[in-house]
Structure formats: C-alpha cells, structure tokens
C-alpha cells in the first residue's frame, strides 16, 4: 500500500499504540479520584502536561487536552466569543479555514456576531494590509490557520502575531493542525493566545488533541462539569489518549528536526515529475508546507482518479476529507482565484516522513497510466 492521504489522518505509530495500551491497562483510575490509584493517574496526567508544555515551550497550565482539532477550534473560537462578547462581537478569519473554524464562525453569525473573511492571493496567503484594515474597535478575535489543509500554503503567522500584539484587546487563535511537526511555529512571545493541535495528524490516535491557551486568556467553556483541564474542558481525562499523543508530539518533533529537509526534497521531486504529465497543473505554492501537494488533472473528475489509484492500493484524496462530502468544487482553490476547470479537478497528495522516493515514483507512474487510460477510453 502507498498511503498519501496523511493530511486526512496518519497511521498511528507503534510506540504510540504501546503507550496507549500500557496506560489503559495500568493507569485506568480516574485522575480525580482521591485514592492512591487515582493519585498515580493524576501524577501521570501532570507528567504528560509537563512534557507537552516543554515541547511547545509554554507553561504546564497553558495546555488543555481535547478530543482533537475540531474541538480545539470550536473551544477557542466560541470560548472567546462567549466570554468576551461584552467587549465586541467582531471576528476576523480567512476564506480558506478548515470547516471547524468556518462553521463555528457561521454559527456565531446566527448569534449576532459579525465575521470578516479575509481573501487570499493565488498562493493562498492573506494580505497583512487587509488584516490591519479589518481590525475594528470591537474586534475580539483573529483566527487564522498556520498551514492550509488542501494546498499546504503557509500564513505569515509571525507577522500576524506582531499585528495582534499591537491590539491588546483582541485574541489571536492559530489552527496548527496541519503545521505541527512539519512547519515550525514558536508560541512564546508570538502574540498567539490560542493554538490548536490534533493527535491523529501526527501519528497519534483519533480523539486526541490539545489546545494551547495563554495563561492570560479567558475562555467560556463549551463543556461544564467536573472542572477538569483548568475548568475549560470538563470530562474525565482520556489519560491513555493524552499520554500517547504527547509521545506522538515528541516523536514528530524529533523527525521534524532531522527529516524535514528530506520531506521537502520529496515534494520537489513530485512537483517536477507531475509537471511533465500533460494536463496536470500544480496548485500548491512551492514555498508551502513540505508535505502537501495539490494538483488539478484537467478534464477528469477527481473521484475517478482516486478510484483508479485505489485499485492499485494507492491512496490520495480530493480536497479535504472534512469537505469532501459536499460538492466537487474546492472552495479553497476558488478562494485562491483558480478557475472552475482547476477547482473541480483538484487532488491532494499529502505525505508523511515515512513515505519514500520509491513510493512516489510508483505513484507518478500509476497516475500517468490512469490518466492515459482514461483519455483513451474517452476518445
């Protein structure tokens, strides 16, 4: 099998599974139970939090463990909106956010909030001037993703952070689900108040994630209950999931340090190889993330190619898994200004550190064959 749909989800790492298994069997007590067994589980929870904090260079009490990216994004956006609505009801985001950001914002519109959706250029990047112009007295939140899930375009988070710093009344949330472990992002002194990370995108398990919440940032919780996770996210902690995700974070950070260059090289190879195929267009900016490549094969429905490759045990995707239940058109590519030929024929290839050049060569070969075969049938 050649798996090239790592932006949808990744294969859980063996070591991560082992941690999960061990914690589930040995430390299943509720960390809130006051007996010794509960105490042990609580201690493990603290150790996990400490480790996560060290990896992110933040403080332990700034980590909120969640069930994943969608929860992290919803908690951040609705949490800020509900807590700070007295100060203002304006939120700024971009046109290319993940549905868990976009739909959370749309839901808030129904509650009387105003949302500004910043446009992007052909590289999928917002303009800082647009952002500056969009900030109003009643703006309480900027929510911008770090790496786009369909195109791999990278937003200028550092510069946005500097702008956010000049407006101490508003908060800045970054959805780093696709970027973490692939494109470095420093949280301290960055102006970032909230940052979402998901476990299953970094070889962890589904149902795990974390939200960084700067200690000066107050959120209205989505879940009320036993006051777990600094009372921002009540509910018995998924300790095995938490520990396993922290392990996945450490492992991917090590790989990022040592292997990100190799991943970039793979992407460059792929860009060059695919460009030589007739009718294939690369939609991704070269300076984008090292693991995501978006292409359009003109005149062929993307689903057809997915299935043809699937027959060969090769897995890629059309746009993002979370949007693929809707129409064929990629909204993100449309926002980047591509015409409908391109936006309705887009495919996403997303790699992991484990993918090899050999696998990519086979993929290119099979894709070429699939396109040729399809065209022959149609003629």
């Amino acid at each position: 099998m050649i798996y090239l749909d790592n932006s949808a989800t990744t294969k859980p790492d063996e070591a991560v599974l082992q941690s999960f298994d061990q914690v589930t069997k040995q430390f299943y007590a509720n960390p809130s139970s006051i007996h010794q067994f509960g105490g042990k589980a609580e201690k493990l929870l603290h150790a996990a939090k400490q480790q996560a904090a060290e990896i992110l260079h933040v403080e332990r009490n700034e980590i909120i463990f969640t069930s994943g990216g969608t929860e992290g994004n919803n908690t951040a956006i609705k949490g800020i909106a509900l807590e700070h609505q007295g100060r203002g009801k304006h939120i700024i985001t971009s046109e290319i956010e993940h549905p868990s950001v976009e739909e959370a914002c749309k839901a808030l519109e129904k509650l009387g909030f105003t949302i500004t959706y910043l446009p992007v250029d052909e590289n999928g990047v917002i303009s800082l001037d647009d952002l500056k112009n969009a900030i109003q007295d009643d703006t309480i939140l900027i929510s911008i993703m770090h790496v786009n899930n369909e195109t791999g375009s990278i937003q200028p988070i550092e510069e946005i952070g500097e702008i956010a710093k000049q407006h101490p009344k508003l908060f800045f949330h970054v959805d780093d689900v696709q970027g973490f472990g692939k494109v470095p992002l420093e949280l301290p002194d960055s102006g970032i108040d909230l940052c979402t990370i998901s476990g299953h995108k970094i070889h962890g398990l589904k149902g795990t994630g974390l939200l960084y919440v700067n200690k000066h940032t107050k959120l209205f919780p989505l879940f009320h209950g036993g006051d777990q996770e600094q009372a921002i996210r009540s509910g018995t902690e998924n300790l095995a999931g938490i520990v396993s995700m922290v392990k996945a974070m450490r492992l991917i950070k090590d790989r990022e340090k040592n292997e990100v260059k190799a991943l970039y090289d793979l992407k460059l190879y792929l860009v060059e190889a695919l460009r030589t195929i007739d009718g294939v267009y690369v939609n991704t900016p070269v300076e984008g993330a090292p693991h995501i490549l978006n292409i359009s094969v003109l005149g062929i429905k993307p689903e057809v190619i997915i299935h043809m490759l699937g027959e060969k045990d090769i897995y890629i995707s059309t746009k993002s898994a979370c949007s693929s239940k809707q129409t064929d058109e990629s909204k993100i590519l449309a926002a980047c200004g591509f015409d409908s030929d391109r936006t309705t024929s887009a495919l996403r290839i997303s790699m992991a550190y484990d993918n090899t050049k050999k696998e990519l060569e086979i993929f290119v070969q099979e894709l070429t064959a699939a396109i040729t075969q399809f065209r022959e049938v149609m003629e």
């Binding site: 082992q18 941690s19 105490g39 201690k43 150790a47 520990v243 392990k247």
Partner: protein, 400 residues
Amino acid sequence: MQYDHILIRYGEMSLKGKNIKQFIIKLQENLQQKIKEFPNVKVTRTQGRMFVLLNGHDPEPVMEKCRKVFGIQSLSLAIKVDNDIEQIKEASLFALQHAKDVKTFKMTVKRIDKNFPIHTNELNQLLGAHLLTNTDGITVDVHNPDVEVKVEIRLEAAYITSKAVLGLGGLPVGTSGKSLLLLSGGIDSPVAGFLAMKRGVHLEAIHFHSPPYTSERAKQKVIDLSKQLTKYGKSIKVHIVPFTKLQQEIFREMPESYAMTIMRRMMFRIAEQVSRNESILSLTTGENLGQVASQTMESMHAINDVTNYPIIRPLVAMDKQEVIDISKQIGTYETSILPYEDCCTIFVPKAPKTKPRLDKVSFYESTYDFTKSIEEAIDGIETVVAHDRKEVDEGFSGLF
C-alpha cells in the same frame, strides 16, 4: 554572527572586601551546576567579570537558567571580536538588531586598550553612524535610551553587549550556611524558602506528614515545591516526619484550645533536633505576623520558647498579596493552591487560642510525657532529595 557569551555582573557581593573571592567562586560553581545540561557551555572569569561561554549553543535556554542564579545583578548577551574596527561595527549592529522592542539607543565605548588606533569619541560617532545608517526607525537618545550598545575594547579583545537583563540579586546560594525550612505545602513557606536562598542560604526542608489523614499527594506536593525551589539553588533534602501519632496524642491529652500551640511547639522541637543532626544552624518559616492564630505576637512568643535556634522569618512583615505575587513569580503558586489536606488542616481546634500564655502551655505540657512519641517521629523520618532535573516516575518510563 551570533552571541557567543553571556556577561555576568555581580550583585551585592561586589561590595565585599577581602572575602569577595569565596563569593565569586561560589557563584561560578552555582552557575556551572545550573548549565551542566548544556555540555559545551562553560563558565569562566577574568579580573572582575564572569562569562558564560556559549560555544555555539542557542543563548535563550542558557540565559533562562542563569537568570535564576542568586548573586547576579544583571546579565547581557555579548559578542567577543578581535580589536578590528570592521568586526566591531558588525557586532554592534548585530547586538542592536537583536535587542527586542528598541526604538532608541545610545552608543557607549570604553577604550581600555590605549593602543587601539581610534579614540573613544571618534569611535562613538563612527559606530553610532554605522548603526543609524543600517537600521530603520531606530534613533539615538543619549538620555533615556531603550538600549545601550556597549563596546569595550580590552587588550585581548573587544566585547559588545546591548540589552542588560536584570538578575535576581542577592548572594550566591551556599555562602550563608544551611537553614531548615518548615515546609507545609501552603503559599507562604516556599516563598520564605526562596527569600532565605536569596540571602545565600542553602536549604533543607522539613515536612510533617500525617498518614492516613494526609495523602501521598500532599507529600508529593511538598516534594514538587522543593523541586521548584531547587531551580534557584542546589538540591534540597526534604525530611518527612511521620506526625500522626504525636498529633493524635496532643489532641487527646491537651486542652483543645491549646492543642495548636503545643503542636507547633512540637514541630519546632523536632525541627531543632533534625537541624542538630544535619549540622544546620537555623530554622526558616513562612510565619507572617498576625496572619492566623498561630502567628500572633503571643503565639510566636509561646511557640518560639522551645528553641534558641535563630528563626529566619522572611515574610514576617509582608502583606499577603506581596507573598502571593512572589509565589506566582517563582512558580510555586499553582502547586501551593492544590487542595490537599495537610497536617495543619485536619486537626483544627474549634477555637484556638490567639493569645496563648506561656506559663499555661508549659504547665499543660508538663502533665504528659511526649518524649517517646517525639523520638519515634524523629526515628521515622524519611528523607527525599529534590533535584533540579526532570525526573520521570519509574512506573511511567517509556510512556513518553
């Protein structure tokens, strides 16, 4: 170009006379200890100054560690270059560009090497002009600059620094002997320990543990607090005293209103004995005049009566809010407020005497012999050492 060392400026110890040497040696030792985890980073000193040589290491984490060492007035990231004007220019520009949030600067040149061909005033102008032409939006302000770019041309090399970061001041830990900190787990005692350390004290800690009424978590909390304090000094031995039996006896045999006073006296007696065993010459407490019943003038008088060891009470005249602020700043607050029962919160008399009388306390104590229980408590002490390093619980190994 990058920062290659950290310049350390001495705090109060620079006022010392002939014995200054021992303070400097201690400071060097303490710094060396703190940066041990960075294998290539070294501490050296020449006349009158101390340097941390980065040897290519990222300055930020090293700086962070050094900032927590007592005895330092301020620290600056610095660059060492040859006595060559082009190199000095380049380094000055680097130092200015890498100082954060800077709008104005001032150029200060010290020309100690009188053979250097360009004179001080001329150098000031030359370098200032170089910085102005190569930066945007930064201007000169000689009276109130955001940053002072300092160039020192010494015989061996030129040193360039910009922003000075404040250190914690105080005296190097270990220069003032050892003290035994009575550590309860609340907000005050860790702050008292921190402030004693600031005066050069090397701490050991004593904690009174009352299982099964108090939990392992309460004990762990005290170890965690000690661990946090070690970030500012050396490893801390924590003596955990099994206190249940003695405490039960006190509450059974003594009048309820005096039980708290007598319990405190027992703690001091035991602490004094532990100090004697460990060659410690003083006790440190988080007592704060008037805060609670045991800390009124009368209570302190009645409790202090059992020992003639000096008692360091750094918080005695502080406001509670000041104490909380320090505990947040030193990172003990979050742990201190964890809601576990400790030995002082489980047996609480309904109406403790706020003005206990010494003659009465002595009389009550004379009616019962506590000697055996005190000895048992001391014999049962468990000593744990808190280190300034990450320790993963053995049961958790491999999980992360």
